[in-house]
Amino acid sequence: MTYGSRIIKKSVEMTIAMLIIIGLWYALAIFIKNQMLPTPWEAVTEFFRIFRSTIWVHFYVSAYRVVVSLLVSFAAAVPLGLLIGREEVIDRFISPVIYLIYPLPKIVFLPLVFLFFGLGDFPKIFMISMIVAFQILVTARDAAKGVPQQSIYSMTSLGASKWQIFYHVIWPSCLPKVLTSLRISLGTAIAVLFFVETFATTEGLGYFIMDSWSRSEYSEMFAGIIGMSILGLILYIIVDIIDARWCKWQKL
């Protein structure tokens, strides 16, 4: 199948899926008959009506926070994870620490993080990054551990340095797993984003949703929810595109 026809096929599938979801939503809205759950039509019109005036600003701020967080955690966690996975000495010291911290719900440190870093964007980005980085770190480490020793021998016998082994073997062989972990962490990242945006800020979709709720503006609230969903979807698609480009060999 060509690249173009694959995109068309995927778009058709997505459209059908969306229609099904909207249909279910519509049925539920009619069934419940409560103003807290507007019909899809009302929510979508509201979304477009206030997009330029309100939603866009919040969308932009939220997107900025979550994208920076993802980039930071990816850039920090992947190299570190791969290194821990390959270097036994480092692994022996760091892995027990990870083992203890990993199951801890990092979100409970939110008050402390706000206390130390103030109320701007930084503590929010810090919080999301910390949570996401751990998930990516553990995946990258385990993926790097799983690289067969034979592959390393092959490289060594070609005269490769440590750095060349990382570049040619460890990184590309772990990338599919790392991207999967990134995909999974996307959901977490947006959930955490929502949570941190409900505190001490007047910007971001999380704030907008909670604010609309407190004002009983349910159509607006749903416009915010749609905004958050679109943010998640766009990020998901971006990871998919990266996956298709960098891990072409996996899809043969």
Partner: protein, 248 residues
Amino acid sequence: MILAENLSLTYKQENVHIKALSDISCHLEKGSSLAVIGPSGCGKSSLLFLMAGLNKPTIGKIMINGKEPDAANPDTALILQDYGLFPWKTVYENASLGLNIRGFNKKNQREIVIPILEKLGLAEFVNHFPTQLSGGQRQRVAIARSLALKPKLLLMDEPLSSLDALTRENLQKFILDVWVNNNLTLVLVTHSIEEAVFLGSKILVMSDRPGRVIDIIENPLVGSEGYRQSPEFHQICSKLRRLLGVIN
């Protein structure tokens, strides 16, 4: 070319010392070939890894051209059974990897690799990934990568064991041609008796672990026309079967 004296190798696995090789001595002249055969787990691959410089003997010494083997030595190329090619690299990228690592520029890499791929019948597959190739084609890519570095010594660890019988015989002929045409010294680890006799001008027969030398058989007719059909070929095969304790 290769001189091994009283090699022993012991390694540690989960706190247990395992003796892999015991008192192995052999020598191999430049331009000849050595087939190493023995039961599985007898340390054949360990012996090859010592020659490749990926491991050091516990006792004894091994010299290649008067020097201790060094993994980074460009004169030695190693081909492993399954993991030699990287699935994320195309045929061309895999074949030029050695040159790439050794810092050849893009233009030089092309000039060296493309003719080799053409000669090995892989020209139309340069942009394919290994998973799109047959097992035999994959082994040829692995061989192309080694030849690109113009090695003097080619070490192969059961290179054909995952192939079907027909492809296998074709590739044995192919390896024979590569060996003869490139002035190589060849060491080949195998568990196939026919393969050892077809490719080794010397055949080192190893015992069960810890691997010891049971016998070293001279096989002077290797590479001669129609050797596979000749009575000498079958005599040596029978001798090997006897030495390896295979009951006919």
